[in-house]
Amino acid sequence: MTHAQAIQAIVARELATVVRTRSYWVLLLGTAVAIFGLALAGGGPEAGYLPTAVDLRLPMELLVPALAVALGYPTIVADARRGELDVFDTYPLPSWGYVFGVYLGRALAMAAFLVIPLTILAGYVATTAETDAALIATHQGADSIALFARFAVLTLLFGFAILAVVLAASALAWSRRSAVVLAVLVFGGVVLGLDLFVLRGFGGELVGTDSLTGALALSPTSAYRGLLFESVLSSAIETDQQYAAPIASVVGLLCWTILSLGVTTVAVTRR
């Protein structure tokens, strides 16, 4: 028996739990309606992939963390409250394996929740856009489905980072109710507060112009926004100005993910 097989069992359990929970189907429907509604309200689909991504950028900064909270907050605290974490301790399943399995399962569910509506939306754009879009943007200002795919991938990367933070909150919580409170604090503090802190630091000259692009990578929301500007939206606007440091932003999101999973593992081990 390898750890990989045990982790696979945990992943399968998480996915099956999501599939069998009626409220998650409602959440999927709500997510799809929100994505379509926001895109249609902005008029982006009729103009092409890039305008659609522009319409969705700001709402996604709130929708994706909300989705991460809904998918992640009950997982570990519920297993702990049922005593299943104690039972897992008697199996050849290390804490990190359990945490990784739960994370992977929920991350796959989150990917489905985002990719399904975005794929359908891309299909809708393909049939309704008034301008022809290429597969790959070949020059500045050109629209392409590849840019929309890049938007989707970066949105997933952002979602995975926030999901990891929410799982840490779930592992640190002592009840389902406290898990909700901590998850809301994650939403307010990490998603919104840190973003405003960096921007306020720039306004108050705590963060200089030279270090702003790097400082933006510290906040998951700013890092996500910076990556979108640099690798998706920049193709629409011709400028020499750099919006963000792409590598620092990717590293920032990965650090949030890895450090949060580390905190989750320590919290599960110490329970």
């Binding site: 069992a9 399968a12 359990r13 739990t17 299943e84 008697t90 050849p92």
Partner: protein, 255 residues
């Protein structure tokens, strides 16, 4: 902290009678309260040992320390059994499972963690007929039996059950002890905490009496009765423990 010393092969026809799991001078404190004080016990393969004691005497804490779920403040717990993928099976006091799954799926999940077959654990506790039922539609007794089935997954040499029969009807209580007895007959060292002295006297081969965080008596039910010149284990238990046996013991508070 649990140490390991795989010096014996605890199961099988030539099994040893030396303890497969041993606690030596274990003390466990929670802040200023000492819940276990210098407890030394050994669990032998093929033996059903019952842990009895008033409420609040430290039974659950001892079981959790033996399972490695709680580290002792001092002393040591050592495992001397065979090197297997799962050494100790554990049933918590109120077993609970994800409600979205059936009995069969639940046990399949646990068996997947140790690469075992799911049929045997359910068959052992008599839940095969309820395999397709959702966990949240099970009665309290059936959920306990599912907990016991879970504890047997992977054939661990040690099985620890925390009051598996509490709150069940007489038939279910007896069924739980029968399962514990059959596990011991198959070579496992089984430790069951219980308040049911009648069933303990009938099924257990060894009884540990815990009172005020200390093991105050340890012997076979017959020998304990003989020592106390009691007609039943219940009468003997009342003589062994300090104060009324049916009263809640609050550790850290003098009776």
């Amino acid at each position: 902290m649990m140490t390991e010393d795989n010096r014996t092969n605890g199961t099988g026809p030539e099994r040893s009678t030396s303890p497969v799991l041993e606690a030596s001078d274990v003390t466990r404190e929670f802040g200023d309260v000492t819940v276990l004080r210098d407890v030394s016990v050994g669990l032998e393969p093929g033996t059903l040992t019952a842990l009895v004691g008033p409420n609040g005497s430290g039974k659950t804490t001892l079981l959790r320390v033996l399972c490695g779920l709680l580290a002792p403040s001092s002393g040591e717990v050592s495992y001397h059994g065979p090197e297997v993928s799962r050494k100790i099976g554990y049933v918590q006091q109120q077993p609970a499972f994800r409600p979205e799954f059936s009995v069969q799926e639940t046990i399949e999940f646990y068996t997947a963690l140790v690469d075992a077959e799911p049929e045997e654990p359910l068959d052992r506790v008599g839940l095969t007929a309820a395999a397709s039922r959702r966990v949240d539609s099970l009665s309290g007794g059936m959920t306990r039996l599912l907990g016991v089935a879970q504890a047997t997954v992977g054939d661990p040499p040690v099985v620890v059950m925390d009051e598996p029969a509490t709150g069940l009807d007489p038939g279910m209580r007896r069924r739980t002890f029968e399962v514990a007895r059959s596990l011991a007959s198959d070579g496992a060292a089984v430790l069951v905490s219980s308040h049911d002295m009648t069933l303990v006297e009938e099924y257990a081969e060894h009884v540990l009496v815990l009172d005020g965080g200390e093991v105050v008596a340890a012997d076979s039910p017959g020998a304990l009765c003989a020592e106390q010149e009691a007609d039943s284990l219940w009468d003997g238990f009342e003589d062994i423990v300090e104060g009324p046996a049916d009263e809640l013991a609050v550790l850290g508070v003098n009776r």
